[in-house]
């Protein structure tokens, strides 16, 4: 991503953590760092510890523990009752499945569509290239909330193909589908921007060599440039995963069928006349866990691919 704007890393034979002077972990400087990082870690972790611990407590205890350190400790009346109640109240499995499907499609299709665009915009000469790039980047300023209403109206008029029985039919209206949750979010100006940045750091001489060998542009993208851009793919994957998994307003407005709802809409099930706090905490723990796992997997790819590309380049 941002490192994309940096010069190609061919010059650096090996890559080591930059700011670490040659000091061993036992020096005072290292201990200072550990101390500082640990304090910060507490600051970053405590709400999540609170969330998880609270998910094991009954509502009344969550509220009475709030003003003491007990809020962070699994003490008192601890059970998995809230989790059981969550499964009674909400079709958790179906919602998780829907979110996984929608998110994988947005991320996967997004990687292909946006990296192709980024490739063309960064490595090929064509009329209107600069204008196009500027316009695409300018669209970054549009927050989704401000166009949600015209958007609902618009997708409700779009043509679509549906299977009725076994006959393919032509119809209007995208509401109540997976596609309405996926297609509008595949192309992403931010992702295109990141790919453009990253690709432009990969030496263009590679393309020229390949073209002399008779390779087409798509082959160059597919076989030469994309394999060198692991960090960019990993970054975009993480970046597009998060909003897709967390989408709330849009599915709420466009999906009325319960069996197509994603996880964040399920959150509202716990805010009845009175909020079931224990269940809220249990449900949020449940839906945050998959995201953490995905991040753990990707952060490895992300960090190690940065290192790897340094070696390769």
């Amino acid at each position: 991503m941002a490192n994309a704007a940096a010069p190609p890393r061919g010059r650096s034979a090996r890559r080591t953590p930059a700011t670490a002077p040659a000091t061993g972990p036992r020096t005072t400087r290292a201990w200072r760092s550990y101390a500082l990082m640990t304090v910060l870690a507490v600051f970053f972790l405590f709400p999540l510890v609170f969330m998880f611990v609270s998910s094991l407590k009954p509502d009344a205890q969550i509220l009475s523990d709030v003003d003491s350190p007990r809020a962070f400790l699994p003490v008192g009346d601890i059970s998995l009752q809230n989790y059981a109640d969550v499964f009674d109240r909400v079709p958790v499995g179906r919602f998780l499945l829907n979110s996984v499907v929608v998110t994988v499609l947005i991320v996967g299709l997004g990687l292909v569509v946006n990296s192709m665009a980024g490739f063309a915009l960064s490595r090929m000469e064509f009329r209107g290239r600069k204008v196009l790039l500027t316009v695409i980047i300018a669209t970054l300023i549009v927050p989704f909330e401000t166009i949600a209403v015209p958007m609902v109206y618009w997708v409700s008029k779009l043509p679509t193909l549906v299977f009725e029985g076994f006959v393919l039919k032509y119809d209007f209206g995208w509401l109540n589908t997976y596609q309405v949750q996926v297609v509008p979010f595949v192309a992403n100006a931010f992702s295109i921007f990141l790919f453009t940045q990253y690709f432009s750091t990969i030496p263009k001489s590679l393309d020229e060599a390949a073209r002399i060998d008779g390779a087409g542009w798509f082959t160059i993208y597919r076989r030469i440039v994309a394999p060198l851009a692991g960090p960019a793919f990993a970054t975009v994957a993480i970046l597009t995963f998060l909003p897709a998994w967390n989408s709330y307003l849009w599915p709420l407005m466009t999906v009325q069928k319960e069996e197509l709802r994603p996880v964040m809409v399920g959150m509202q099930y716990f805010f009845q006349l009175n909020t079931a706090w224990g269940e809220v905490m249990a449900y949020t723990s449940l839906i945050t866990l998959p995201v953490l796992l995905v991040f753990l997997v990707f952060q490895r790819a992300f960090v190690s691919s940065i290192a790897a590309s340094g070696v390769k380049g």
């Binding site: 499907v101 994988v104 990687l111 609902v152 029985g165 709420l252 197509l260 009845q272 006349l273 909020t275």
Partner: protein
């Protein structure tokens, strides 16, 4: 990462999406093809509320089994998201035949032409509590199985120990008495004696506090012709009410902390709570015989509480109006109205169901709520209500936070009046 694995993941996801959509669609397209019963879709706000859903499922099963012409299919939404969902559906022309709506939005929807006159037997609607029926322009557009009611919860022992008079429906607390009682209770050690419910947001605000405004002689809008809020929302009566409201927060008699619900009262951290019938069961468990269900204070024009809860209507785009009406008429059976009341702890809308209900029959513990329904007032039936509701909430919250009362109310009036003018008076 390997591109091939990525491609296969996407392919699998796409395939399963198609399969899942097919499953989803199967239920929907059943009725429309062939000569099976005509399908009628119904939307409720009850997702996540198993007790209420169970009653609907019972009604629908019974109705579907009772005849062969129609099949009612239910789709439920979580309450907190329901209004956003149906407004989006309405704007994109995608409403189902039958839907439930919060009472005060009915006139707005009727005016906009999204729902049609209900057209069910007047025997049914005549027997309902007046606040359970939604009207616009002289026609009935909606009807509900129940109404809710607000009241003051208190413990008899606490009031007696502090020498506070226990009010009755015939002789409620005046606002001066109420205020003095709160001061006494605060002095007696209750840090926040009154839980007024201000931590809640949205429709709760006009539902809970605009009746107090009316009790003081103000209102949300001039109900003569529904063209302006000037003089009623910013008149001296309204200022008087909000002055008390603001000072109650300033003096710490109440606060907007805590959580939505009645925990503070049940734990005896608040001596009095202003809350709804839906919380009564828990408080009965917590306080037992000691629990008092009291009328809200009289700000001058007699005590008032909010009326109008969830009600059913038929959309204008419904192509099975006969079936929808047949379903609704079937659903107002005493058995079901009673079941809603028992499952939800809400006041049944008919006398038969009231007599049959476990909580609200003569002598039952929650009977006092039935007596309070005589104080019920409706939020103004005007299409401008969406703006009125949002504006009132903001103004009242600002005043709670210490804003200047007169100028805040004047701005609220200006906002409401500007909206009415922009809509050419909403056709009246």
């Amino acid at each position: 990462m390997k591109r091939t694995s990525l491609a296969s993941i996407v392919a699998i996801a796409a395939a399963s999406a198609t399969a899942l959509t097919a499953c989803g669609q199967a239920g929907q397209s059943e009725g429309s093809s062939g000569d099976g019963p005509a399908q009628i879709t119904l939307w409720t706000h009850s997702a996540g509320n198993p007790a209420e859903l169970a009653v609907y499922e019972q009604i629908i099963d019974d109705f579907n089994a009772s005849q062969d012409d129609y099949e009612v299919v239910e789709e439920s939404f979580p309450q907190g998201a329901y209004n956003d969902a149906i407004v989006a559906a309405a704007a994109s022309g995608d409403l189902p035949c039958l839907l439930d709506m919060d009472g005060p939005i009915v006139p707005n929807w009727a005016w906009a032409g999204y729902i049609q006159p209900l057209g069910i037997s007047s025997e049914i609607t005549d027997a309902l509590l007046p606040t359970a029926v939604g009207e616009w322009d002289g026609e009935i557009y909606s009807a509900g199985y129940w109404d809710a009611a607000l009241s003051l919860f208190a413990r008899q022992s606490v009031l007696e120990a502090n020498g506070i008079r226990i009010p009755t429906v015939d002789s409620p607390w005046t606002i001066e008495e109420f205020d003095a009682a709160l001061v006494t209770l605060k002095a007696a050690g209750y840090e926040t004696p009154l839980d007024i419910g201000a931590e809640d947001t949205g429709e709760w605000w006009p539902y809970a506090y605009s009746p107090m405004l009316q009790s003081a002689g103000g209102d949300l809008i001039d109900r003569e012709d529904y063209q302006s809020a000037d003089g009623v929302l910013n008149g001296p009566e309204a200022v008087a009410f909000f002055t008390w409201f603001q000072s109650a927060f300033e003096r710490g008699l109440t606060s907007n902390g805590g959580t939505v619900g009645n925990t503070e009262f049940n734990e005896d951290e608040a001596a009095i709570s202003y809350t709804g019938v839906w919380n009564a069961k828990d408080s009965l468990t917590a306080a037992g015989d000691d629990l008092l269900i009291l009328p809200p204070p009289d700000f001058g024009q007699g005590p008032k509480i909010g009326g109008g809860s969830w009600q059913w209507g038929i959309s204008s785009s419904c192509d099975q109006v006969e079936g929808a009406r047949a379903y609704l008429e079937h659903s107002f059976d005493t058995e079901y109205v009673t079941a809603f009341s028992d499952g939800q702890v809400v006041i049944p809308a008919t006398e038969e169901a009231e007599a049959a209900s476990q909580d609200f029959a003569e002598g039952a513990p929650l009977r006092p709520f039935v007596d309070l329904t005589q104080f019920a007032v409706l939020r103004p039936p005007t299409p401008a209500y969406a703006v009125i509701s949002s504006t009132f909430e903001r103004a009242a919250k600002d005043i709670m936070a210490g804003a200047d009362i007169q100028s805040t109310l004047d701005q609220a009036v200006a906002d409401i009046d500007a909206d009415i003018q922009a809509n050419d008076g909403y056709g009246s």
